[in-house]
Amino acid sequence: MTDAVTAPTAAAPPAAPPRLPSALALGWSRAGVETRMFFRERDAVVFTFAFPIVLLAIFGSIFSDRLGGTSITASQLYTAGLIGAGVMAASFQNLGIGIAVDRDDGTLKRLSGTPIPHSAYFVGKILQVLLVAFLEVAILLAIGVAAYDVRLPSDPVRWATFAWVFVLGITASSLLGIAVSGLPRSARSASAVISLPFVVLQFISGVYIPFTQLPQWLVGISSFFPLKWMCQGFRSVFLGDSGAALEITGTYELDRVAMVLAAWVVGGLALCLMTFRWKSRRDG
């Protein structure tokens, strides 16, 4: 991320060298191969993509009662929560595992030996994350609307809320994913090291279990992380005003959602800049 993209003319010998491809064009090209590799690797697709969809189908079939004297059904609540989890899976989990694997299997080392700027690698990753997250949300919404009475909001203000929660949430989760990609010691341990905390986070952030059934101290822990706030933001979009009664404070606290997610964007960026390594531990 700290890579200085050298202007083609800056280091040029006098003989006017051929122009190097732009970082943006290379980022686009990276996005193409990243996406192709992602969809061809069934493990990765199952881990980040199908997981929330399968869970929605299971939870939606088990719980169909209305909640706490509102007109909201449990499956509607799960749809909103799993959209949050799905966005985080597409960004945090996907990048955390994907970059750890890239570091281990020689992708990063090989790229470092070519004229591609480091920024193009990240542009490729970001575009791939956006595509996967977008597809994930679209499929979860389609299932929710078709099977579980989820109603798409007609109010553009709600869609504006969706847009900023999505953008802030995916940015914070992506940066966090890039930062934690350095934790696994090898590609083989990556999915365990990254997935375990993510599953725990989903359980304490109100994705699977409503907050009303969680002890206070667990809610305190989850309030520190972005997932709780992403889900809360998405619930405000898809459950509407009547759903606010189900929140702990009785409101969606959108101002706090924005503040916490923005803080994670800043903190995540700082973490990435401080900890990101192109080399694996093996390479020293």
Binding site: P18, S29, T107, G113, T114
Partner: protein
């Protein structure tokens, strides 16, 4: 006039207390095939990784294609090709997709299909890389190393794990590239490989260069005494001599013609190498 591709003076690299590279000098001319030999842990890989711009040095002067590899620019990277030791990336892409993608990184890339054919993978071009054999996977690495039309190519133990036939085919490819004027810096454990390919070799031991010469003259090999061997009275006889021709003449007279099972051997590159390593680690 020969231009210098690589110039190294007093290169030093420490890891903690260990001096992995302890004052190395090297000159590699443009167009030369240069092999670096040495046991594991001798500083060979560290030296090459510094030349490749992967590692920072502690001291010394290093110039590779006229620039300091300690501060690699994209322009410089586009003139250098690197074939790493092990990599497992792009397993889900086909050979053609991978080579095409990497060709896009370079301003004056070779035609990807031509490169694929040249490394002998034309038939596998549509195959996913995960389905290739180890030797075929290695040829993809070479294709990615040369697709950018590098002036200087680094090959790190390129034929480890190859069967003898695959190694010969690979050698032809390297000779082919050398004929085009590509400077090649090669590390290898196989002394026959160094002898077959390299114009000059350097032997690194304990972070220093202990010998640097043409393979045929390394370590005083050409001037070394020869061993004449023959069969006499059902027994194998050996004689070490500085004048093997005279010895054979004498033997010819003694046997009155053909000398049974006559051999004349000089120390192989491997013998010279083993001696050099033994001397430095003694």
């Amino acid at each position: 006039m020969t231009q210098t591709a690589v110039r190294v003076r007093g290169l030093t690299k420490r890891y903690g207390e260990v001096r992995a590279v302890d004052g190395i000098d090297l000159d590699i001319a443009a167009g030369e095939v240069f092999a670096i030999l040495g046991p594991n842990g001798a500083g060979k890989s560290t030296t090459v990784e510094i030349l490749e711009g992967y590692r920072k040095r502690d001291a010394g002067e290093v110039t590779v294609l006229g620039a300091d590899p300690g501060h690699p620019t994209r322009q410089w990277r586009s003139r250098v090709g690197i074939v790493l030791q092990t990599s497992n990336d792009t397993a889900e892409l086909t050979v053609r997709e991978t080579v095409r993608h990497f060709a896009g990184y370079y301003p004056g890339a070779r035609d990807p299909d031509e490169v694929i054919a040249r490394v002998g993978l034309a038939e596998q071009a549509g195959k996913r890389i995960r389905q290739l054999s180890g030797g075929q996977r290695r040829r993809v690495d070479v294709a990615l190393g040369v697709v950018g039309r590098p002036e200087l190519l680094f090959l790190d133990e390129p034929t480890t794990g190859f069967d003898p036939e695959a190694r010969r085919t690979f050698w032809e490819l390297i000779e082919d590239l050398a004929r085009d004027g590509t400077t090649i810096v090669l590390t290898t454990h196989y002394l026959d490989e160094a002898e077959a390919l390299a114009d000059r070799v350097a032997v690194i031991a304990r972070g220093r260069i202990v010998a640097q010469d043409r393979p045929s003259t390394l370590g005083g090999r050409a001037a070394a005494r020869a061993t004449v061997g023959w069969l006499e009275d059902g027994e194998r006889r050996h004689l070490e001599t500085g004048t093997p021709t005279a010895t054979i003449l004498k033997l010819t007279g003694r046997f009155g013609g053909e000398v049974p099972e006559l051999t004349v051997t000089r120390p192989s590159l491997e013998d010279v190498y083993m001696n050099l390593i033994a001397e430095t680690t003694r």
